[in-house]
Symmetry: D3
Subunit: 238 residues, 6 copies
Amino acid sequence: MRSDGRKNDEMRLIKITTDYIKYPEGSVLIEFGETKVICNASITEGVPPFLKGTGTGWITAEYSMLPRATHTRNVRESVKGKLSGRTQEISRLIGRALRSVVDMSVLGERTVVIDCDVIQADGGTRTASISGGFVALYSAFEKLVKSGELEKNPIKNFVAAVSVGVLNDDVILDLNYEEDSTARVDMNVVATDSGEIIEIQGTGEESPFSRDVLNKMIDYAFIGINNIIEAQKKALGL
Amino acid sequence: MRSDGRKNDEMRLIKITTDYIKYPEGSVLIEFGETKVICNASITEGVPPFLKGTGTGWITAEYSMLPRATHTRNVRESVKGKLSGRTQEISRLIGRALRSVVDMSVLGERTVVIDCDVIQADGGTRTASISGGFVALYSAFEKLVKSGELEKNPIKNFVAAVSVGVLNDDVILDLNYEEDSTARVDMNVVATDSGEIIEIQGTGEESPFSRDVLNKMIDYAFIGINNIIEAQKKALGL
Amino acid sequence: MRSDGRKNDEMRLIKITTDYIKYPEGSVLIEFGETKVICNASITEGVPPFLKGTGTGWITAEYSMLPRATHTRNVRESVKGKLSGRTQEISRLIGRALRSVVDMSVLGERTVVIDCDVIQADGGTRTASISGGFVALYSAFEKLVKSGELEKNPIKNFVAAVSVGVLNDDVILDLNYEEDSTARVDMNVVATDSGEIIEIQGTGEESPFSRDVLNKMIDYAFIGINNIIEAQKKALGL
Amino acid sequence: MRSDGRKNDEMRLIKITTDYIKYPEGSVLIEFGETKVICNASITEGVPPFLKGTGTGWITAEYSMLPRATHTRNVRESVKGKLSGRTQEISRLIGRALRSVVDMSVLGERTVVIDCDVIQADGGTRTASISGGFVALYSAFEKLVKSGELEKNPIKNFVAAVSVGVLNDDVILDLNYEEDSTARVDMNVVATDSGEIIEIQGTGEESPFSRDVLNKMIDYAFIGINNIIEAQKKALGL
Amino acid sequence: MRSDGRKNDEMRLIKITTDYIKYPEGSVLIEFGETKVICNASITEGVPPFLKGTGTGWITAEYSMLPRATHTRNVRESVKGKLSGRTQEISRLIGRALRSVVDMSVLGERTVVIDCDVIQADGGTRTASISGGFVALYSAFEKLVKSGELEKNPIKNFVAAVSVGVLNDDVILDLNYEEDSTARVDMNVVATDSGEIIEIQGTGEESPFSRDVLNKMIDYAFIGINNIIEAQKKALGL
Amino acid sequence: MRSDGRKNDEMRLIKITTDYIKYPEGSVLIEFGETKVICNASITEGVPPFLKGTGTGWITAEYSMLPRATHTRNVRESVKGKLSGRTQEISRLIGRALRSVVDMSVLGERTVVIDCDVIQADGGTRTASISGGFVALYSAFEKLVKSGELEKNPIKNFVAAVSVGVLNDDVILDLNYEEDSTARVDMNVVATDSGEIIEIQGTGEESPFSRDVLNKMIDYAFIGINNIIEAQKKALGL
């Protein structure tokens, strides 16, 4: 039994509010338990220079935390004057995950920026960002389909992400902050609704892990992925 | 009659939600119509070097906007690597306004940072930040009074802020974005519940204004200030 | 009686030297007592992107201080690698003040930069910068009129700025450094020769002020503004 | 058959030169085929603030490329004034990998910096950096053991890293630049001589992958890891 | 005959105004013809870490230009966010020159910063900065001797600097801007009143020069150096 | 006799390896004794804006050191976020030296960047960079001549650089680190194979020097220059 009463392979409550902010093409508030992330999708005409004239689009993501999303206040990166390595690493991860499920030639020469701003952090902010960012992206595309700017939604597959880890000797799913800070192994899995892996990032800095543990972590991850995709579909009315 | 149906001396709907984010000592979501700002107050022990050993505290503020709080997406200041002049100007204004109503010797050698993060902007973000930042500050102090860390709440007066301006030839109160972008004169007033002025900043770059217009703008501002202070008291259960 | 023997509504000696530096289109050394500011106006063809093709011009200002313009040496902002909030705030204020009195369509697609470099600071550097910057701007335009590049001088009104404040319980005009650092209330007024207000910025962080005090401060400000405009006209041989 | 004649599960020639630069405590030139990385280990007394007084040490890494390590010249990050996300991501990965095999309490309050400077890049620069960085670290520790500063070598396990990927439909080991730039899936595995995984990072942005493919990639990775550890031991005369 | 009527080995008019700005310990306006530089010396207690406890002092210099000291306006380095290579090179040169003639143990643990701000540039700004900076330094020391803080003036020798060059086929002394921009060879010499060289920097990027030309340039430089030292002594009343 | 057994006018062993890195148009490892510098020449089509349409080319250089090229580790300039004054000064010196011997109109509208990365430093890194950079440049041009892109090699003269100094009372040639750090006078000379001087930079911050010493230093410098040019020719097979 985990400290918040969950079973080892159980997700926290997933809550997805669409149309959260009024200006973005797609806007979502996603909650994994006490973790809350605003995901906004902005679509503009045009692409970066390396894609001009190719007829294909581009998607990037930017991840950030409010200074007091955490127990103690963090100095703003705008005040420090630079992005931390962690911020850039997560932003790049979100971007890759979302690009992998979009047919860029259907999107055409448009650029989408997914902003993921964590307003309250309790573990799993990057996986909530990917999972919520996908819903913002999907609904932004729907808006363009409705307005006739896009012929069809360029999404090829649903994508979601979840964390798994080893705490004491147990494999557990969807770690909260307290669990995450004491886990020996920490892994994030990004996967599609067709059961294929987009990204896997596991690290056992505190203690290496065997292939058996790796396999069990992946099993649990897919349980979580399926739960999240279900919630995504429900939020989108599908 | 204004485009949203308000009278010239009428505020938009004011909504103040306390305890919005769970970690900060004080946390508020303030809404002036469609403008929404998260105001978090973080209190830490210790003061900047210039106050060490004086027995008095310090308060600063940091203002920021999510990239898509506005109609079109703004580049993050953390990505640009520096704060804009506008951001610093507003942050300094909020800090001065809140310091003016706190008895720093009652606060003792503690530092408070008020983070004002605009998640949706429709005009008046700086006045909403001051007005909501005050509530976050007040309730953070209450928490310290309850826990016995502070003998009494160091707040000396309530403080609120509001914008006034000249649109066509009318003086109007609490401008929304559409009004703000076409107004000839724009003024912000910060004042206390005792009817005294903390800060007045009026600019007629587009067209200079007479002393009569100045006086009418101040009259309207005090109508707004009183409305907001009423809402602050209600939100704090006073 | 004030520490330097002035009456409460008396300006310091105003001295304006034109053609101070030989390269700029307009160049002025302005002195408000011991405060000395070099104001240079540089005019170039072309405008920023947002004005291209509109047939109208643009004016910006940059304010700076020599490191030893003050009692103790300040670190250069070029060495720190960024502009302080104060520097940007003053630069923006000077720009707004000067733009407000220029007919941009007469100027045409030209950009003017007003550089205000304080070489000695004794209070009122921003008001001296605006007042001297105006003379630099005016004489730069005269040069273009003489050379036939401009049909007529695009200046619509004279503009000047002055500080007023509350020291002890007295309202005083044109504060020097010693007065400024102990004043309870500090206000800057920018106004035209037609008696209209361009900008008003008053702050009572140390102690709020009543509307009566506000009115008296504005009365005094207009005495100062009129003195400065007289000096500007004399310096320009008008 | 691959373009350079290797079998799918075959490493490129591994060459490790110890004592490459004369000043560092440990210095190695590692070559994976045409990829060449200088790995220098610098040991200094003292630790970052968060470890002071704990009796344990710290290891970090910094990865960089010479501007012309690649086909076309890259702008220096020192000239741009900031580290790219990629550079920070790889530096953090190398640091985690090396920390995972060191007993920090045997190291004591010392800090080791591992500098990995790529002088020629042909794919696999991060895996060569980890594998060569380990040898530099090991030999730096040996030097301190010899001088009596350390009682014993704090290394707990050997560690190495290798890339695997999917090209067309084949899983291949140790991708060179040409293979890497056309692979559909790219994965890096860091593992110990005891067959346990420290880090696994796989991404299928271009095309998701199944669990079967994941398993085959891990099989191949361990073939590579064992080859590299053999080369490490030989270079260290063990 | 040169364009301004001078002989090849003739200096421009040298003018040195002491006590130019009222706050610095030493303050000088130096003019070499139309080149005008404000040189301020600021003395503070304490030294950089590498000199603490040694009983010896330190001197550094910072060189800068007002944006419109030149024909066309230069962007401020504070706005660019970094110092150019040229600025740093000249600042370092001034610092070395002035340190070379001061007995640092007589100075004691004090730091002097010499700020050289060019308000009008017409060639030779670095040599004017060194020559004027020396006078500011000397008079700052005199002030400390008078106040009893220093037992004696720590200056060991007078130092001055001048430029020489090759224009067409003539060696010329003290180049103005027009000459400097067309000279084939450009050299700066820093030397003492005892006829010894502190620094020599000659560059023939446009066209290499022979040892004979080098010797003639040094001959001319000493003529200039002696002229300047005479002016320095007169300005200091020696 | 010097500490490493050399005579006062004797160079260290010069070793030049061509084709060191495989991608650059020209690549050299140059060694002056224990000083080792990788010099890479990258040629691209096009020139900076100020040369567009002139038919002439451009050459710049960038100098850098690996963090552990020295006895103790230096913080990377990419991590600090800016180039030191020393780095920029040396980079500019290398650029001027190499530009001086190239016929830019033969080069045409092409830009060459010479990267000089010091992997081991034992004094004389800037002179080795110039001397090795020249060989990289020469062989890059040869490659373009062979491929027919250039009609002939644009090199007009060979160029090399060497340091001389005064240690105790002796003039010595090609100082190693130990000598350099205790020398009273330090001078770098850049000269051509026709015996003309490109650049001379001598500094006697620790102790001024007479014209006699200057002359002897230049005599020794030419001995060194001739040795280096001989080694350059041999390395190029001339």
